[in-house]
């Protein structure tokens, strides 16, 4: 069993790597120019080229893929010769402003800037300000006779300056396009990489993707977990009752009820529930109005209608599968044998029927866990719930590349993970399935 799990984990890793390449390639191939998306219609080709360089988009695809996955700070370390450090500080309403610095052997944190052809280093002081010191002695002689310098600039990039370069950098500053000559000739945007929890900076939110997506994953996870906790036991119990009473009135009622809830689209169910419980009876909130970050804990009522809406569809679906599976098992020869053997009805049901009949629902449930986390877009939209599904949808609409990539990876990880869990549960439920 242990060997099986290890093997499965390794295949999972391989799958993830292949999928990451695929995700990266799809976003890469997809039409749309990232630099132009950021700059808008009025940028000149020079500005666009400069922005592409600054975003590291002119680097080879393979290097960008590796940087996305494993980060680029170690690449920068190789060029600069100093270790990199990411400092996270609070700036105004931005709780986790991230800044990259090079760490000198004496422990000083350094950034560099070139102004009017002269190299300056910026030393981080204890109070968060910087001291600007002329650093002209740091230029290094290059092979082609030019003097160059690799350092960290003030915008979270490693940059290579060439002394006396006439290159113009167009930078979108608070005061607009800043043209500065002596701009770096090469950039490495610094990041830790997806593996180390840094999925890049969202172009839409101008905040780390990991921060935004983390919040959304948590919200979706809460919604999905509650929906599963509510719907699965209810559905399995109802399906069992219906299956054991095949053809009787109770079976008919449950089956038709299940058909109705599974058949009604979730937006219709959601709106009906809102009209009854929020607008008419005024007993429950009709939308997910999060007035603070911990609104869900302070006012769990917010979750009732979204969870109910998501659950109803799921209940109908799972109960019908459970019912037909139970019916099938009840008619199987081994159940007849067990009954003929003289086992009590209860023993027959718990020891023979339940275990065998659960195989199909478990497959469906595990597939649905994944769907629940990412696929509740409609429920999220009806209630204005800030979840992962709507996040990914909007990232795709905005061509927010790092968000799309991170969102896709999260969903794939969930899909692969839940499938592994499903396989393990199979073997627990049905001892005939043995993995080795």
């Amino acid at each position: 069993m242990a060997r099986y799990i290890v093997r499965r984990l390794l295949t999972m890793l391989l799958t993830m790597i292949l999928v990451s390449m695929l995700v990266f390639a799809i976003v890469e191939i997809a039409p749309g120019n990232v630099a132009r998306n950021i700059l808008g219609a009025y940028a000149t080709p020079e500005q666009e080229a400069s922005m592409s360089r600054q975003l590291g988009l002119t680097r080879p695809v393979s290097i960008r893929y590796i940087s996305w996955l494993f980060g680029s700070d170690w690449q920068a370390k190789g060029e600069i010769g100093l270790p990199m450090a990411q400092i996270i500080s609070e700036q105004g309403l931005v709780k986790n402003a991230r800044e990259w610095w090079a760490v000198a052997p004496n422990g000083e944190h350094l950034q560099w800037t070139v102004e009017e052809g002269k190299l300056y280093k910026l030393v981080l002081l204890a109070d968060g300000n910087t001291e600007k010191i002329l650093d002209e002695s740091s230029w290094k002689a290059g092979e082609d006779g030019d003097e160059y310098f690799w350092g960290v600039d003030t915008a979270n990039r490693a940059a290579k300056w060439v002394k006396g370069s006439k290159d113009i950098e167009y930078r979108l500053d608070y005061s607009g396009w800043v043209e500065s000559t002596g701009a770096p000739v090469e950039y490495i945007p610094l990041s830790k990489g997806l593996i180390r929890g840094d999925a890049g900076v969202s172009l839409r939110y101008q905040a780390p993707v990991s921060e935004v997506i983390g919040r959304r994953i948590l919200n979706s996870f809460i919604l999905a977990a509650l929906a599963i906790v509510v719907s699965i036991p209810t559905a399995v119990i109802l399906g069992l009752i219906a299956g054991l009473n095949e053809g009787k009135l109770i079976d008919r009622i449950i089956s038709i009820g299940g058909l109705i809830t599974a058949g009604s689209p979730d937006f219709a169910t959601g709106i009906l529930l809102i009209m009854v419980f929020a607008i008419w009876l005024k007993v429950l909130p009709g939308a997910a109005v999060f007035t603070s970050a911990d609104a869900l804990w302070k006012n769990p009522n917010l979750l009732v209608l979204p969870v109910l809406t998501a659950s109803l569809v799921e209940i109908g679906y799972v109960l019908r599968i459970t019912r037909s599976s139970v019916v099938e098992v009840m008619n199987s020869p081994y159940v007849r044998t067990a009954i003929l053997k003289g086992l009590t009805y209860r023993q027959v049901v718990t020891r023979h029927v339940l275990r065998n009949a659960m195989m199909a629902p478990i497959t469906v449930i595990m597939l649905h866990v994944n769907w629940f986390i990412g696929g509740l877009v409609v429920v999220e939209s009806v209630f204005g719930y800030p979840g992962l599904g709507s996040f990914i949808l909007n990232a795709a609409l905005f061509k927010d590349v790092y968000s799309i990539e991170a969102g896709a990876m999260v969903l794939i990880l969930l899909a692969v993970g839940t499938q592994l869990i499903a396989d393990l549960i199979y073997s627990l439920v049905n001892p005939r399935i043995r993995y080795s």
């Binding site: 998306n37 219609a41 700036q91 839409r204 929020a278 009709g286 939308a287 109005v289 007035t291 939209s381």
Partner: protein
């Protein structure tokens, strides 16, 4: 106290006497020129400017902005409470570059404006104590109110205002103020002393006070580093406590705000404002409102208005505006570079039908010129009739006897645009146009709004007609379209008359000039504009004093809530 009165005020007063302009227009003009509202009202009511100057001992415009909404509260104002609004929480860094009103809504409670245009269209000093214009309208003096403190304790001085002018007037910043204030160069802005700024204009203009009240003109301190979420510093009555793009922001009342309320204590009345965004399509706004989770919905659309217009628990205030949806056609691209084609499309508009479908009739008919009844310079020029036979004729003349197939970009989030596009698509078939709709999310539309060959763009209200015309339908000095000229239509005659209108204070003369502009734009302009919209403020009955601005600004400084 002797106070110099602008000669044009005397002239305007004369026109008022002769019934050529309305009292409201006179008030607007004279306050624009630096007269206090009290003096202007006095002038309007009786006598000559000379009398007003000597007999009304009012210091230069010092009243706090007058707000007239419902019946004035008679001592019933309650302090405290939280106002919750459903709106959009946009990504904002530099307020000067904001191009969406919704992006400015939360922040206008943190940063304030030099002037304020009240619901009747009269502009007052706000952070300014007063302003003065020279006789030739080329030199304007802005005098700052003393003792106003930013929420970091620093005092607001002319240096801060200079910094803001620098942002607005530097082209590379890409602030819409740059296009709007095309009459002013940065070199013409001078600090006279710590509280006085002098503006030397390139061409005469009367719009300065009104431009200073535009939503990108919020005043940030001179130390501003480019991202207001990192430095939420302003003079406003609230401080931003939390700002989560796409989700929520929380504003808390300041204790030391500079303006006092009706009860003599500092504003604001509310303790807290919470703004939430419920998803990207705002479909949950209505259920949030109806189940009592939010008190108001900002910038409500017609569907929300329809659902709530008869609600017993809701105050609905409608205001006709110059806000509209403009079908703009790229004048520099096929087929719209032929004026007959544009005119043909104009003949395919069944305007009443479009207004009924798009807005349930809640608006006014447009004649393809971007001047609305809400602008004082409006001339009632009838639009082209709905005549598809004429359209076919024009298309044949332009060399398209077999008709034309075009693609129309439209933002699916704006129901009015969608309804307009669909109505036009149906009606234009008979006129020889096959219009393929290309619906997309608004965010995607804004990304390419100036690029599309044919698209329907959302335009907000501007107080005076030439203000919008100068932003959207002019060229740079080199003849290329200005930054916001989405139709890329630059017409020399139009530009010349517009420049003249911008320097004309006399309303009657300006109205005449705008009339010429309306005709030119109707005939040659590459836009179709079938309707202007009404806007609404929609809020619960227990909320009071929300200013019904035609420009859809949400201002909650003097809003209060029943205990």
């Amino acid at each position: 106290m002797e106070k110099k009165i602008h000669p044009l005020v005397t002239e305007a007063n004369q026109q008022l006497r002769e019934g050529k302009i309305t009292r409201r227009d006179f008030l607007r003009l004279s306050t624009l020129l630096g007269l206090t509202v009290a003096s202007a009202e006095f002038l309007a009511a009786c006598g000559t400017p000379e009398q007003a100057a000597t007999e009304v001992p009012a210091p230069a415009a010092t009243e706090a902005p007058v707000v007239a909404t419902e019946a004035p509260a008679t001592g019933g104002i309650v302090r405290g409470g939280t106002l919750t609004c459903a709106t959009r929480i946009e990504r904002v860094d530099n307020p000067a570059t904001t191009s969406l009103i919704s992006a400015a809504q939360p922040w206008r409670h943190v940063i304030e404006y030099l002037t304020h245009t009240d619901p009747t269209g009269v502009t007052h000093p706000y952070l300014l104590e007063s302003w003065n214009a020279s006789d030739d309208l080329l030199t304007w003096t802005l005098i700052l109110r003393k003792g106003i403190k930013f929420n970091n304790g620093q005092e607001l001085t002319a240096d801060d205002v200079m910094f803001n002018f620098k942002q607005w007037l530097t082209e590379s910043v890409q602030s819409s103020m740059f296009g709007a204030m095309s009459y002013l160069d940065l070199s013409g802005v001078e600090k006279t002393d710590d509280y006085t700024i002098t503006l030397k204009l390139k061409t005469p203009s009367i719009f300065i006070p009104e431009h200073l009240a535009q939503y990108p003109a919020g005043i940030v301190p001179a130390s501003f580093g480019g991202d207001i979420t990192k430095e939420p510093i302003g003079t406003g009555a609230f401080t931003m406590e939390e700002y989560v793009v796409g989700e929520r922001c929380v504003l808390k009342a300041r204790k030391d705000y500079w303006r006092n309320g009706a009860d003599g204590k500092p504003l604001p009345y509310l303790d807290e404002i919470i703004m939430v965004q419920l998803g990207d399509d705002r479909s949950a706004d209505l259920s949030a409102y109806q189940s009592g989770q939010v008190d108001t919905i900002l910038e409500p659309n017609v569907a929300i208005w329809e659902a709530l217009k008869d609600d017993a628990d809701t105050t609905v205030v409608a205001t006709p505006t110059g806000a509209t949806r403009v079908l703009r056609l790229r004048a520099d691209q096929e087929p719209w570079n032929k004026v007959e084609v544009v005119q043909a499309l104009k003949h395919c508009h069944n305007r009443e039908k479009i207004l009924a479908l798009a807005l349930q009739g809640q608006g006014t008919i447009g004649n393809d010129s971007h001047v609305s009844q809400a602008n004082p310079e409006f001339n009632d020029i009838p639009p082209y009739p709905f005549d598809t036979a004429k359209s076919k004729e024009l298309l044949t003349a332009a060399g398209y006897p077999d008709g034309l197939t075009v693609e129309l970009a439209v933002a699916s989030d704006w129901p009015e645009s969608m309804a307009y596009a669909q109505a036009l698509k149906e009606d234009a078939i008979a006129g020889g146009f096959t219009i393929n709709l290309n619906p997309m999310p608004a965010s995607q539309y804004w990304e390419g709004w100036t690029d599309f060959n044919m698209g329907i763009t959302w335009w907000s209200h501007r107080t005076l007609a030439p203000m919008i015309l100068a932003v959207a339908y002019t060229g740079n000095p080199d003849g290329t379209p200005a930054a916001w000229n989405e139709s890329h239509w630059v017409d020399q005659e139009f530009s010349d008359i517009l420049t003249e209108a911008v320097g004309t204070l006399d309303l009657e003369k300006r109205k005449e000039l705008v009339g010429k502009l309306q005709v030119i734009q109707k005939e040659r302009g590459t836009i179709c504009l079938p309707f202007f919209m009404s806007v609404w403020k929609i809020y619960k009955k227990n909320i009071h004093d929300i200013e019904p601005t035609p420009d859809e600004y949400a201002i909650f400084y003097e809003t209060w809530k029943d205990a």
